[in-house]
Symmetry: D2
Subunit: 357 residues, 4 copies
């Protein structure tokens, strides 16, 4: 109810603050018998962790994941899987100042209004660090989905105004360059753009795209838990996301029916679609085509550039947000998007086991 | 679980098919003591019902709402409110043909894959007619929110390529013109565009914008039930929605932090923001500014233009979708967007009653 | 949240008051493909309806069930099944007096405290009439379970101090006598007891026992949704229930481990138990033996005998509860117990589909 | 869904196995601002921990609780509270033998059937050790309830055939004697009984009674989440519980209405009841009187006495369960009952905040 649980059957509950003892997640509803590859989970964690590039915070945290329950002799047992990461690089003194005022673009004011006070150290529960719990859970979901033949790949589609050229799409680049952009030329332009932002004490946003292959038709529950509605919920629960679209997305609004409809056809004896404007979901249910969606990520709100704001005494002041912040969080959020998508699809696969007698 | 329930505390469960006995909704968790204005609920229903304009289906259904429980002496009692509409304009024979094939852009194929068969009459449960249950529930939510000083207004921002001019914004037009566009000139252009679509046996999409005024700061639950994530889920659960964005939305991706951050200031002794790029939500919690979001609606998939598809025997065929279909559903969806937004905000108001001791 | 929904996957939401338009239920999560025998559902309704005997209220209500959605060509479609019964025998004037005071043993005072006021006509939502929605839903659950080879039979084990003799158990009597007691001699003694109660303007309680055959081992979810915990919740949600026990129940408290443990053995090549002290559930999970539980039902609180109470002005008064009341509700509650048990088992069967990869 | 979460608003998710890294709990929905007394939480843990008496297992585990999140400057922050206990006294080799067979009265067989295999070390997830997570969460619930003026006290009412004499009730004894029996004479008789059980390699059960004082009228949600139904669910989810009753409980079945009804009266200007046969709950809603319920606990299934059973090869064998087992778990379960009751009441208090406008 208080919002720290996500999912219906395959379900995670996360906990932890940026500067507390650690952060973690409990996943309940994981079917028994999945082979747990700890190395794979840690590799997912490493894709998210800070310090991977000059465009992420120089905080270096090991973010080592510990599995505390639910796995026996390398298999999931069907009981809850508890995982946690200990915080090791806490510098709470960096944050003592921000206790007194509201950072623009942050939830400081909102938390104070909601709860009467807040754990101000590093954003507390509203820190982006919270997402590491999601990545750990999503990694388990991906292990389950792999056994079902489903793969999820996200990447950076745009950094600020710099977008990839679809014609130049190169999957290898996603892991090769620090911005996770599948187009080397775009990556290089984005690097220039980010350097400029940093020089100005400013920050950048971007767009993440995600493709899910191998999804059988039939996933998603009408009418409120449509597969795209679940994905929208999941992706919008990631801190900095301001937009979500699937298939043609906002572009569909200006198309005509004959342009946007995907005609059905037969392919190798099976029903298929000639196009995929739908992004793999029709009427909220997977249609067997790849699922394709995009998320808009706002620029990091923590900037060293001077900004006006107010403090808790109701005085207007000027501030420069100090501390070790990412000039752009998009590349680190790519794996979080994958993780959240994996949670939704894993849950939908299980829910669909009950659709027929 | 099977997706027909929405909300946590203020919670609706809908039922019904396009061509069954009727459709309805049960709302549980409505606080006792709300004055129920049946006329207001029916007026919301009337904004959604077909036959209001030359751009909606000529089916004329009364869509008269009946309150069956939960209201006593014009007040909500705290027990579930059951409401229903009887179907009166059923012409099942119109649909007998579509039992045999899969309409492009529709969920026919997906339902068959999910459930093994489907109620093919008028789309059954996947019909847009399902949304009338949402409107009835949303009307009750609006009655509750009004007593809290919260108002929700949605309107058509674009039809196909025709967008309103913000400088010419005229709220009165939303109720005055049949497209719900708050800009008369844009409305007239949109009319021309729609006539052309209809002449070609084609259809149009559009964009709906929604503004929520009077929201206190503090609504929304970190981390998964952020207020924007709940709205995204709600809006994306409406059949034809393909995109959702809040505040700057997708545009935020290309802004810099200093452009996108809203500086806090003091106004009449209270904390306020100089701008509202956030769209009224920061870190998933309402910040006291108006909430502003947009939804992209795809063009109606039912078109009379010839399309290729396959039938249940696996044969490729050509079809023209007959029947009484809307060339554009955007204007009728405006009130559905309002209803879903009202459900989310009402729920968030109640959930927030438990945030402090 | 507000308590009108029961179940996780196979899930019902009920609505309606004793003297409103009617009462009903929406069942979501019913798998597609179950053959719906309307006659069977009505027969379940008829077992609950008043007027079946001289020991139930002489109100004669048809309690005719109408299926409004979710069934197409006699099969469940996987979409929500809405069912309702119209109220036809309303005599609200009988109840106008009780608006002003609190009946002993009833929830009048509690409702006023909780909601600020109440629908006082016939108990409103707290009327036993509410259970007809459960019976309709439970009938659908039983249809599903029959196809899985699971049968549920409840009966009256005791009326007041009169218990059946297990040695004289006769299943046919459950349907043959109006008290649903599977022992004719006990039935006859109970009749005498009830006549005496009625002569004194008093009422009686009793014990209902329920046996569930054909349950496969493995149902129930550790640790909070143990199968017996779900049954306890379900049965205790029936208005007048004051106790619930499974297998040896309260008797187990005074046994020793060697007496209460069931030894495992092999029977026709399968694991079996030599005894069934457990009542078919071990560690919260079905063990393959028949599930046996008992519920204690309090005497009907509505009695014509004079009682002291207070009115809404805080004055102490004396009352005699008038109206058409059952001197004992146990026989009518038997089918409600079956229905609730069916809901739990159907839900557990579906949940268990996700226990293994 | 998979059963490791309990509660609606005030909600816990537990994890951990007897012989894994540790066990823990995440509580979500705790209102911000509760003062957290760690000493109180540890004291609750200590009441449950083994080694407190000659009648509990001689395993000595520190069961030291660690708070990992959700508390800042000694106050709850409104974000999830994660707590854990590390396992320190693991002797997995004690259990290697039981991997191969099914212990009578245990869930071994059921887990194998449900999940395909099991973590056999010390019962894994089905170990009574799981309840320490509940106690930690329940302690936080009790801290919240204390601030609301609500107190919860449980004690041993019976051990085997030895019951307390209500006339001799002495609350101090609950903490003074190792069996938590509020009657010294009964305690001494129970000691003799238990010594005899142990001498025979056998075990005992008992009855726990719980009294909740200070509950305001109005808690509990009709119709399925009645306060007693929630308590029944909670208490029945504790491993060895086989029966639950409230107020008169099973005795009510043989009373007449005039005996079982509680007459209302005025006391110091407030509505009160002359008796409390209801056990503090009417129609599922608290009536302002103390809530009184009882739970029947079966004898510990682990006994050293020889028993017949089967092994995984389907062979009938004879076994004597070795290891460090409690001859009676009732005294250690007393605090678990308190904890579960506290979770239910805390949740009901929060849910009730939404009952009126």
């Amino acid at each position: 109810m208080a919002g720290s649980t996500f999912g219906n059957i395959f379900k995670m509950t996360t906990w932890g603050e940026s500067h507390g003892e650690g952060l973690g997640v409990v996943i309940d509803g994981v079917p028994a018998g999945i082979t747990v590859d700890t190395g794979f989970i840690q590799a997912m964690m490493d894709r998210r962790k800070p310090g991977n590039s000059k465009f992420s915070t120089p905080r270096s945290e090991a973010d080592e994941i510990h599995i505390l329950s639910g796995v026996f002799e390398d298999k999931t047992t069907g009981t809850p899987i508890s995982m946690m990461v200990r915080n090791t690089s806490q510098r709470s003194k960096d944050y003592s100042e921000i206790a007194s005022y509201y950072r623009p673009g942050h939830a400081d004011y909102c938390f104070d209004e909601k709860y009467g006070f807040r754990d101000y150290r590093g954003g507390g529960r509203s820190s982006g660090r919270e997402t590491l719990s999601r990545v750990a859970a999503g990694a388990v979901a991906k292990l389950f989905l792999k056994e079902q033949g489903i793969n999820i790949n996200a990447y950076t589609r745009a950094i600020g105004p710099v977008s990839i050229d679809e014609a130049a799409f190169d999957q290898a680049e996603v892991f090769d360059n620090e911005l996770c952009m599948p187009d080397k030329a775009a990556y290089e332009k984005a690097v220039e753009y980010l350097k400029e932002c940093m020089a100005n004490g400013d920050s950048a946003g971007g767009i993440i795209e995600c493709v899910i292959d191998g999804v059988m038709p039939g996933l998603g529950e009408p009418v409120f838990d449509k597969l795209d509605a679940m994905l929208a919920h999941a992706i919008f629960s990631i801190g900095a996301v301001k937009g979500f679209e699937i298939g043609e997305g906002f572009n569909a609004a200006s198309l005509q029916g004959s342009e946007n409809n995907d005609e059905f056809c037969m392919k190798e004896g099976k029903v298929d679609k000639r196009t995929n404007h739908s992004g793999g979901i029709l009427g909220g249910i997977s249609d067997g085509s790849p699922i394709i969606f995009r998320a808009a990520v706002k620029p990091t709100p923590s900037i060293s550039k001077m900004q006006r704001t107010v403090n808790k005494n109701g005085e207007e002041i000027e501030i420069s947000v100090k501390g070790r912040h990412d000039p752009v969080i998009v590349p680190r959020a790519v794996v979080v998007v994958e993780a959240m998508a994996a949670m939704v699809i894993a849950d939908a696969v299980l829910m669909n086991r009950c659709s027929k007698i």
